[in-house]
Symmetry: C2
């Protein structure tokens, strides 16, 4: 099972890139990190000042407000409006049931409470109620499921599931099986379309697959994890591997080998996930670049993605939460570093981001990754994005420009 | 606060008779009971046999099925059908919103799970979801509230509250304040009618009272507990005491000083609660006697109540759960006692029940209770029961006969 995940603090997941599969292959159940050392603070007054500043901006400004209010599911209706909401294996950028599964609908009907990761004052984790009858004579059980944009996309719109209860059931199922929700959704969406085209025979899974059929998807998840048929074992390798075996690569929604996130915004999104170190939309936030109010040039897209990824590489090296990135602007980060006795200036910070970025590229290449052969499946060009239909030719141009920039980065090392 | 309760195992309550008030008056927070002795079992084979028999009859027969399925809230629609569901301070025996707050409706919409007291295989405690918005920006909190017939009656039908959410809110409020739900409901129902008749001025509570107005009732509960006005402090003594102060005894729904349970079935119910040792409907189950398929004579009612109470006195001395009373028939109880080395016959068992009953009567009388002056408020005769309008004259006859029987019991002592 290549898209097994690692869970952290119940509601947080290392979902992407198969970390759970790596753990499993090493018979590693978990990692417990503990410490009891103090970090000496040279200037407590400066420390308190910057701490208070960060804390206040987190809870008193709008910087993180949306993450606590509706959370990332606020994106569902926003992306629907833009026509950028991947639906039924990205056969469409709009989902006619979006209002039923929006962040607003979940909050109004299913939200039980919001919780926070340890030490965080925000509380961005939205817990929805899954209530299920499990037997006659009114036998019910319940569970609180955390939901966010990515699961509403991957187990909702992408699978044509237009009921909140259905999505919560699928969240529960992937949680029970320890799977990455995006990897699962992308694989099932591919399988649904592949079955419709006669490329695979879903009798190997025990039940048929159809967009919107929650029970079929629950069964398929169980069957894939059980691995009792060749199809099941192949689907456990993900959509790209399954497409390699059965055909249908044109609509296997992976970029750089990784199943894609829930945005069909445009070139920056596709390119960003192709070239990002983790092939994650949060590596360089291409989906955000696509939503700038004006059209960007090739240079603006490529340089924007690289600059953003370098900045995020530096930020995540501090173990910040990316939801807090608006709070951690450069002056704040430098003030924080100085307050704990690291007398950095902006150029040190910029150099750190560049170095980490370069090291990641070098690591990927040493492991065999080739930035020059990257491609995006045809589906990304068939279904209009919020920028209309994307042209394969422009993506090729963007990739060529990106590789030029990468050459320069390597040369500067 | 005379109707404060004592809570046990989260979802179980010593609700009636003000045990919480007694604890409070002695500054006693709680009692923890623990033990580590074994009880020697002389004949393990016989013990296992009777244990298995009891266990199987509990979980494999219909004896306790209704308590697990819908629980006692199954009574709501049954009593509605009979016209025996006390509504709006017993101004009616039917509630037009009964279907909205029935056991069936709670199970279909709100039931989260069923839990059991320690060691019990049944699980009769029904937990419903109370989900409340507590602030803007989609701030929600939730809690699981246990609901049963008595709270659906006392905080629902009796107060004209016809929404499940409203009832769950009131259950939550009395739970937070540590109040007996029946005592609270009966007092608020009296106050609502008394305010309508101009006997009390609800401005002393801060907000007006109206049947069905949940917010007004929440406010009143807080005000009564806070005790900042004479009316609030008087209502903290219960409906009977408040009626003594302000008038309106005719519609203060107490029997023998205790607020009544949720059945308006007929004479046996009224008489049973008047003369029961704890003035509880479960002392002698008059409501059940009233539901026999044929009309009973005075003798059948009086002797039936006394016999049932004596049997229950013996049963509860074994610390059984009264929901399991159909399992604990006499042959079973005697087999169980014999299996642990108590070689009792039926006459010993009958004598035990009679002795406990007699002792309880003697205790009550030594504390000043007078069985000869008992009366029921006029309301019980004004509103038709499932047996039609009750006649004060017949209740007087029943009380006279009961006192004859009590004389005989005392004489035999």
């Amino acid at each position: 099972m290549r898209y097994a995940l690692v869970n952290c603090e119940t509601y947080r997941h290392f979902g992407r890139l198969g970390l759970g599969a790596v753990f499993g292959s090493k018979l590693l159940k978990g990692i417990y990190i503990s410490g009891d050392c103090d970090f000496p603070i040279p200037d407590r007054k400066a420390y308190n000042k910057v701490y208070t500043d960060i804390y206040k901006r987190m809870i008193e400004t709008e910087a993180m407000q949306k993450y606590h209010d509706l959370g990332t599911p606020v994106n569902i209706l926003a992306l629907q409006e833009l026509g950028a909401l991947p639906t039924r294996n990205l056969q469409s950028g709009r989902f006619e049931m979006a209002h039923e599964i929006s962040g607003e609908a979940f909050a109004d009907h299913d939200l039980l409470r919001k919780v926070a990761c340890a030490g965080c004052p925000i509380g961005c984790i939205h817990i929805g109620l899954l209530r299920q009858q499990f037997g006659p004579e009114h036998e019910y059980s319940w569970a609180g499921m955390s939901y966010d944009h990515e699961v509403l996309y991957s187990l909702g719109t992408l699978l044509g599931v237009g009921t909140r209860h259905g999505i919560l059931r699928l969240i529960n199922r992937v949680a029970q099986k320890g799977l990455d929700a995006i990897g699962t959704g992308v694989t099932l969406a591919w399988a649904t379309e592949a079955a419709g085209r006669g490329l695979i025979d879903t009798r190997e899974l025990g039940k048929s697959l159809a967009f919107g059929d929650v029970e079929g998807y629950e069964n398929a998840i169980d069957a894939i994890v059980a691995g009792k048929s060749e199809l099941a074992r192949t689907l456990a390798l993900g959509a790209a591997a399954a497409a390699e075996r059965y055909g249908g690569s044109d609509f296997a929604l992976t970029l750089g080998g990784n199943p894609v996130a829930g945005y069909h915004t445009g070139y920056a999104n596709v390119l960003g996930q192709l070239v990002g170190a983790r092939h994650s939309h949060v590596d360089n936030a291409g989906y955000s670049l696509d939503q700038k109010p004006r059209e960007l040039s090739d240079e603006e897209i490529v340089d924007g993605l690289i600059a953003e990824e370098q900045e995020r590489d530096a930020l995540t090296s501090l173990a910040i939460c990316l939801f807090a990135r608006k709070v951690y602007d450069r002056p704040t980060v430098l003030a924080a570093l100085n307050a704990i006795g690291i007398p950095w200036h902006e150029e040190d910070w910029v150099a750190l981001g560049k170095r980490i970025y370069r090291d990641k590229v070098a690591l990927k290449e040493s492991l065999g990754f080739d930035y020059r052969t990257l491609q995006a499946p045809a589906r990304f060009f068939e279904t209009p994005s919020m920028h209309g239909k994307l042209e394969p030719e422009r993506l090729r141009r963007l990739l060529a420009l990106f590789n030029e920039r990468l050459d320069a980065i390597r040369a500067a090392a």
